[in-house]
């Protein structure tokens, strides 16, 4: 492709990009926006967590066969250590109360 033609096509691309927002007008009703955002937070977060969990589960199904026994044992040890530490922490917290 000749340099000039490339330059012209690149200009076309820039124009297409620039025009891509012209078809729609966006209006914010700022007087109610913040309240609406606050009201939606909880549901949004629940949905986001649900979506992440689904993603994790499906990825795990795909890859669990590739995880070696050594890795499984190592993760299991880590989880057990974390659980013990968490238990200790909770006990201390209860005592302080």
């Amino acid at each position: 492709m000749a340099k000039q033609e490339q330059g012209e096509t690149w200009q076309d691309i820039k124009e297409i990009w620039g025009n891509s927002s012209l078809g729609e007008k966006i209006n914010f009703q700022f007087s109610t926006l913040i309240e609406e955002l606050k009201a939606n937070t909880s549901q949004w977060e629940k949905d986001a967590i649900k979506s992440d969990m689904t993603k994790l589960k499906s990825s795990w199904e795909q890859y669990k066969g590739n995880v070696s026994q050594w890795e499984k044992d190592s993760i299991s040890k880590d989880v057990s250590k974390i659980s013990q530490l968490l238990e200790k922490f909770l006990k201390k917290l209860k005592r302080k109360k």
Binding site: M1, E5, Q6, T9, W10, D12, I13, K14, I16, W17, G18, N19, S20, S21, L22, G23, E24, K25, I26, N27, F28, Q29, F30, T32, L33, I34, E36, L37, N40, T41, Q43, W44, D47, A48, K50, S51, T54, K55
Partner: protein, 168 residues
């Protein structure tokens, strides 16, 4: 959020809405609508606003959020069965300058060609088309300016090869 902060937040949205919408439009592939993505981006901007430390330019931060939300949207929306929350406070109206059929075809061609790129390259070209300097693109993508320059050469070639026959 204090009144003054609220006003600043509103101003940020107003100043950046066109750029955000352009990004949403290029990433929205049926059944995801650009309006859905736009609302999702606005929500994430609001959610992260309190953590914005002002270390970077506000538009750099907005672009980062918009690209992150849009890049991971496909998988998220699929697992949510396309269920999204609508914010009544954001209204979309057709403007007087409705793009004609040819412009729509050209836009679809650009979207198709950008979708051939990986997530990072797609983000780079979008930011470049939005006329951001390499320095800012580097800040958004966590790459060096030199790396951006090298990548842009390759991305440009891929895009031109893809779009040229479609625009003829």
């Amino acid at each position: 959020m204090q009144k003054q902060e609220e006003q600043l937040f509103n101003q940020i949205l107003e100043d950046n809405k066109t750029s955000i919408y352009r990004i949403c439009r290029i990433y929205a592939v049926s059944p995801i609508e650009p309006q859905d993505l736009f609302q999702e981006v606005i929500f994430h901007i609001w959610k992260s606003y309190s953590t914005f430390k002002g270390k970077s330019n506000i538009s750099t931060w907005i672009y980062k959020i918009a690209l992150n939300v849009c890049n991971r949207s496909k998988m998220q929306f699929e697992s949510l069965n396309n269920k999204t929350t609508r914010l009544e406070s954001i209204q979309f109206k057709l403007s007087e300058t409705i793009p004609d059929e040819i412009e729509e075809i050209k836009f679809k061609a650009l979207r198709e060609c950008i979708s051939l790129l990986n997530a990072v390259d797609g983000s780079i070209v979008i930011l470049h088309l939005d006329e951001l300097p390499y320095k800012e693109i580097a800040a958004i993508t966590d790459l060096t300016e030199n790396h951006i320059a090298v990548k842009m050469k390759r991305i440009k070639k891929i895009l031109l090869d893809c779009i040229t026959p479609k625009l003829k």
